[in-house]
Symmetry: C3
Subunit: 246 residues, 3 copies
């Protein structure tokens, strides 16, 4: 038996928006103390990890652990119907996961379970030399600035600053965020790093940025994936992105 409910399903709406942009199917782990999700995009360039602690939900009950597959395009359709202030109740029922949206009336959506894929997704366990905690809005605008100029972006970090830059045929963008900027809460750099990433993926990650006021950026040298977290009480939402050739 699996059941969970939320008083306000808004954050879930944003997360599904972001994940469904990147992934066709997701594997959900219905555990006793949390609902976890893992998914990779088809080209294995990015990985998404989501842990929703039981405390994230208003009610949460899983009497047996289970792994299920869900179509992200089906979930996206449901998420589009989450209106401002809607509560959500989700329940596993035979071959479907049922989502009930609760406002003055009840609206129920059933999504058919898919075979959870056998393949084991890669585990990423890295010690990062760079950690930055900053206002999500400033990081988001920086990425958007870069995105108008090119398809890839260079992140350069020194103990003093982070530079986001992109280069098109006739124009260049360069965003400089100093470690002492008011939007930066923490800026830990063991060694200067420089790495290039695909902007399309980053823009999809940022669909989730509405759930949090800040973003945690973990970075390393040119062989390490970028890690982006949007911290919210009771949950962990982590995006990994493989680097491009410099």
């Amino acid at each position: 038996m699996f059941r969970a409910s939320l008083d306000d399903a808004k954050n879930l709406k944003y997360i599904i928006e972001s994940v469904s942009d990147l992934v066709d199917e997701a594997v959900l782990f219905l555990k006793r103390d949390m609902l976890s999700m893992e998914a990779c995009d088809p080209s294995l360039v990015c990985k998404i990890e989501l842990d929703l602690q039981s405390s994230f939900f208003t009610d949460y009950k899983a009497t047996e652990e289970r792994t299920i597959g869900l179509s992200m395009s089906a979930l996206r359709k449901v998420s589009r119907r989450i209106l401002l202030g809607d509560g959500m109740f989700m329940e596993l029922n035979g071959g479907t996961m049922d989502f009930t949206l609760q406002s003055s009336i009840e609206r129920q959506f059933q999504c058919m379970l898919l075979e959870a894929q056998e393949e084991v997704l890669p585990t990423i366990d890295v010690e990062y030399p760079v950690f930055i905690d900053m206002d999500v809005s400033v990081f988001k605008e920086g990425v958007r600035d870069a995105a108008i100029v090119a398809n890839s972006v260079l992140f350069e970090v020194t103990p003093e600053e982070m530079i986001i830059s992109a280069e098109g045929d006739t124009e260049r963008a360069r965003i400089r965020i100093t470690s002492t900027n008011e939007s930066v809460k923490e800026f830990r750099v063991k060694e200067a790093c420089c790495s290039r990433f695909n902007l399309g993926y980053l823009v999809s990650f940022l669909h989730s940025s509405y759930i949090s006021d800040s973003v945690h950026i973990y970075m390393g040298d040119k062989n390490m994936p970028l890690r982006i977290d949007f911290p919210v009480e009771g949950m962990r939402l982590t995006f990994y992105l493989a680097p491009m050739e410099l």
Copy 2:
């Protein structure tokens, strides 16, 4: 001679939006006490009836009764130029119907009259076993919930509740509105009914939903058309929709 004016043309704007979505040409009856309109979509799946009483208008004068045809795409262009708070004056002039929008300046649009079609539109006179008067917003969201999942929707009504449901390949939606829900003002059911309808038409009808806080739903068994009214003082706007195979 035909002349009519409105202090606020907003409701007319919404109605034209809805009707022009479904119909290429409309037949207008300029009567002494009201302006009436009848139109069917080309496939005869839906019918729209509109009665605008003389009391709906600020001024209304028709000295001789007349039947005219108007292009709905021309009317739609005019309706798009109705700005918030614009008054409207309409007048029949030889071969055109002239619409004058009045804010601080006068903007006049002339639409050429079309030959009013000879063919008589079907008259629908049915006694419905189901009548529901409810908040238009709740009904609208229910229809939209169904529309993300499939192209057709099933309405099931019992004395206790109305169920709106739709079924796609991998997901299902089911909206349950009980007769005692706070959004329901009247819920009269002589016999339980069940009928299926095309969602595309329903969504077009709902463009008109902005004119009214409530919707009147008349329904019967699987051979009866659905009837949807958006009640406003001084007018009657009725949509009929033929049922699909169950």
Copy 3:
């Protein structure tokens, strides 16, 4: 050396929007007391002239006069990143014009200089028999009214009124603005004029209308170009549009 800064780059954003709609490249004259721009659309139907006085800028310094070319599509990309309240600093640096947007962080865009075209753009020096100063919103709505009906618009001006009209296959629009209308500040007509213009160009000009509350319209007989100014303190933004066959 050329440097200029603005506390609020909003108006520049709207102007670039409008100009980039019409023109691929623009020639900028960096003069000691003002930044000027001239551009024609590829078919030479319209011409845009812009003078930004040094007083328009918070700071302005040009130590040598210079003429440069800039890609309007590159400028448009930069202008799209100007957020509400952003300051802007622009500086000529070797082969690029650098635009720095300043909010809590600095975001720099570099646009490569193009060869300033040798060809001299036509100079327009005409005495206009008609001058109208009116609310820009009223003129804008009038042009939009016409644009839904046809691709060209007729302007007819007499000492008593201005008539904007357009004629489609089955509908006609006619907007009448009397010289005594409250939206009209000045209405000087030496002789009645009538001229036809392409609506596509006019609609592009009006993207700039956000910078000003009023519009100055200069008009003449059917062989004279229309002149449209959006007056703002410290700058001149002028659009010329060649007439069509009547």
